[in-house]
């Protein structure tokens, strides 16, 4: 028994490391003195431990999939890949919070603690192998997220963000749980592997109940990935929350939710049944609406944070298309998209954060004339915007190309046209921002944007994969492909 448990734990090292990190950070926070330097040590410690978790994660990537803790958790290459992206995203956001003025100095270690907590929830969600683990993951992820979004506690918008997030979150979690309980009622189990067997032999009323239950279940996940029609909270939360939190929200909880969506779709609907046909239909409609609503609404935004929020809704719509095809090529496309999206989003938020710290607002005007103030950052930001729009030679194009490729392979030409029109709309608002940075004249009395050397180095380091994966993407694509094979 003990032997078995220890065997399980050897697969679970990354999660355990995060739990240890979180608890030690809590204690360290209590011991921190307001003097200079001790807070920096906490940062170094948190980032170092997170970086170390990448080692067991990469080891797990090449191991055959296992199911541990009595069918509760799957450790396969797919979940590991998602975890790697989430860890990198968390590291990026924590490093961003270090220099951001948006998070008060005395709350900075709390941000790190909660980010690691959300990461643990996300990891659980990505590996969930039964409905209960999945629900547990979503809740762990959510509860800390509610607190994080109101971290700027003396500002009304931030408090509003937290409140909104919690209310919507509570409601959708309830709806989801309701769906799960019906599924349990009809199928008599919460294990994914056992539920599949029951799905095949459904008839009449039970079939209806299961279909409705999956719809209710989808509400919970749809809320986490903020797809239409559960997206309304995200712009307000994104705008109200401090920027490092926003950057964190657009990566970790979204990818966690997406991982759960991919797993549920691949496990339950990978066969030709009536339910899976309806599920594909649902995903098609959801993705088309999510893309369109996200991109069209982004056009009119004057706050960069809000624009990025809507743009991330658009990107999620694109990623859902990888679910529609229900094969490992689609999952590969999602994984690659996730990696690229993480890098692009981090850079966009890094630069926005610095500029909004400097001018005290996140309006699009702070980007005016950036090319004259800081040419390097302006060029990187412009490249990232074009990458987000899916222009070659940047990696955003390869991500988009793959999504198009998987849906056209399955001959979904209609949705391909919707996605095509959407990428033109997306290009328009990214270009509007690029235009402000580069074509706008600088007023002479404005101060020069100061990016610290450390931040510049991180931005450049994050930018290298954005370009590199646009030209030499074969290795990473094969890696994503291998990770996608395991998910069944």
């Amino acid at each position: 028994m003990i032997q078995q448990l220890l065997g399980f734990l050897s697969y679970y090292i990354p999660e355990l490391m995060c739990v240890v990190l979180m608890t030690t950070l809590l204690m360290a926070e209590a011991a921190v003195k307001e003097e200079h330097g001790s807070r920096d040590k906490i940062y170094t410690y948190a980032l170092a431990v997170l970086a170390l978790t990448l080692i067991p994660l990469f080891q797990n990537l090449s191991k055959p999939p296992v199911i541990i803790f009595h069918n509760a958790v799957t450790i396969d290459a797919f979940s590991t890949m998602i975890k790697i992206i989430m860890v990198l995203g968390t590291m990026g956001s924590i490093f961003l919070s270090r220099s951001s003025k948006d998070i008060y100095t005395n709350l900075k270690s709390e941000f790190a603690i909660m980010a690691v907590g959300v990461l643990i929830g996300g990891m659980l969600l990505a590996s969930a192998n039964n409905m209960l683990t999945l629900y547990l993951g979503i809740e762990t992820l959510s509860i800390l997220s509610y607190v994080m979004s109101s971290l700027k506690r003396d500002e009304a918008t931030s408090a509003e963000a937290g409140m909104k997030y919690a209310l919507y979150g509570g409601l959708t979690a309830g709806v989801m749980l309701y769906g799960i309980s019906h599924l349990y009622g009809v199928l008599g189990t919460i294990q994914f592997s056992e539920m599949i067997g029951g799905l095949g032999s459904l008839e009449g009323t039970n079939m209806m109940i299961v279909m409705v239950s999956f719809l209710l279940f989808f509400a919970g996940i749809g809320y986490k990935i903020s797809c239409f029609p559960f997206h309304m909270w995200s712009p307000d939360v994104y705008q109200g929350a401090p920027i490092p939190v926003t950057s964190f929200f657009s990566i970790v909880p979204k990818l966690g939710g997406l991982a759960a969506l991919v797993r549920v779709s691949m496990v339950f609907f990978n066969h030709e049944t009536i339910i899976s046909v309806s599920w594909i239909g649902l995903m098609l409609v959801i993705s088309a609406m999510t893309m369109t609503v996200g991109n069209v609404t982004a056009i009119g935004q004057t706050s960069v944070k809000r624009m990025l929020a809507f743009s991330s809704i658009g990107h999620i719509g694109m990623m859902i298309l990888g679910v529609v095809v229900l094969n490992d090529v689609g999952v590969r496309a999602i994984l690659f998209y996730g990696i690229v999206y993480m890098f692009m989003t981090l850079i966009a938020f890094y630069i926005t954060s610095h500029l909004s710290d400097m001018y005290g607002t996140d309006s699009i005007d702070v980007f005016k004339g950036l090319i004259y103030k800081h040419p390097l950052m302006a060029i990187i930001m412009a490249s990232v915007l074009f990458s987000l729009a899916g222009m070659p030679p940047f990696s955003g194009f390869i991500a988009k190309f793959n999504i198009f490729s998987v849906i056209i392979e399955k001959k979904y030409y209609g949705i391909a046209l919707v996605a095509a029109v959407n990428s033109v709309i997306a290009l328009y608002y990214y270009m509007k921002l690029a235009k402000t940075m580069i074509f706008g004249e600088m007023k002479s009395d404005e101060k020069v944007a100061g990016f610290t050397t450390a931040n510049q180095a991180v931005i450049v380091a994050l930018f290298i994969p954005v370009v590199f994966l646009g030209i030499f993407w074969e290795k990473v694509m094969i890696m994503s492909g291998n990770a996608a094979i395991f998910i069944k």
């Binding site: 222009m391 030679p393 194009f397 490729s405 056209i408 030409y413 095509a420 074509f439």
Partner: protein
Amino acid sequence: MSGILNWVLWLPIIGMVGVLLTPKENEKAIKLVTLVTTAITLLLTIVLYLKFDTNTPDMQFVFKIPWIAQFNINYSLGIDGITLPMTFLNALLFFICTLSSWTVHKSPKGYFALLLMLQSTVFGVFFSLDFFLFYVYWEVMLLPMFFLIGIWGGENREYAAIKFFLYTFFGSIFMLVGIIALYYASGAGPESFNILAHQGGKFVNETLTIFGHTISFEKTMFWFMFLGFAIKVPVFPFHTWLPHAHVQAPTAVSVILAGVLLKMGTYGFLRIAFPIFPAAAVEYSTIIAVLGLISVIYGAFCAMAQDDVKKLVAYSSVSHMGFVMLGLSAMTVQGMNGAVLQMFNHGTSTAMMFLLIGILYERSHHRWIVKPDGSKGFGGLYTKLPKYSVVFIIGMFASLGLPGLSGFISEALIFLGIYQRFTTITVIAVVGLLIGAAYLLWMFKRMFFGEVNPECEEYEDMDNREVFYMLPLCACVIFFGIFPAPLLNVMKASVGQLVDLLAKFQV
């Protein structure tokens, strides 16, 4: 010898790195690096011409290595008789544009770096034999253009840059869908991104289902590709981005835009849309011809109505590219040869016009034939600027198709070709030629004759630099007007192959 295309393609990028490494303050060094790079590139393309075998329609100087092997994507380059003239034109125009941009003083480092990047991407479009590579170059080309128009352009440059970018992107995203569909329709095998492997009407019997309707694969994909290329040409009704982009762009960028970028659209028809979907091309050739005809007539009338001389020349480009479309839709030996020849000849003559307008603008700082307040913008330039006037006359007559100058030969060939297929359209299109002569001569009358406008008193004639960079274009226009054989010989075999292919699908 196979590596020479790599040199032509990457030399501008090496030059761009050189420009970026040069200190910002040293303007002269930046310009010299650009000039030397473009000069060597031009020499290399002349070597290409000398080594070119005119007897074979096959690709030459082929270079192919795997790029993304798992997805059957190759880095594969090659040129044939259709692309060789375009390659030479591209090298020549960039060399000339570098000289003409000597007067650019606003952040020259960025300007020349982007110019060199643009040159490389245009070469890339013409050289690519792999669909993926082609698409990447087709899109990357937009980035330097966007910044060149947006930063160094005129007053309304932001609007023009965005409009140009969005229009082209809209067309090309449909092309991307078409490219991926072709990839899977041909079995996703090792040759599925190879442009040449798809040629010959292999998709005639394929079908696809879109929004529940089953339709012909070939016809649908033809229109997807058509959209991408027609916006680039631009064919009516997709032409509305062009006047804005041209008027706002700096001189050199206008020259490149009209000279080579528009040709990428017609090149797309010649290399992709026609050979890969020949049955659809034949079936819809009437529509293409009618759209070409509308471009010719409508573009000419729009040009006549302009008070801004640059806008006039921009609309004349719409009109002249309409002739290329007419030549393509003829699908006969004469028509196709005429179309390819017109692509080259329009490149030289319209480049002359834009350069000349740029030269004048540097003196007058406006381009009004008739100013908005109704007074004359120019007048009597002929007596004040004799050298300038002579060059202008050569450029203008080449543009309107005077026999003896280059435009005549290509337009005559196009008419010879299209008369065999669409008699009525030919008759109407000839009227376009007449309108063309009318607006150009009327413009010339208003600007160059009559009393000398007091504003024009202190204009200086062309200096040696300006004369020097206009000379090669004048030479091209006159030489190919009298003796087009060197160009026709080069393109004969490749064009002949395409015509033969299309003939198989004509009833």
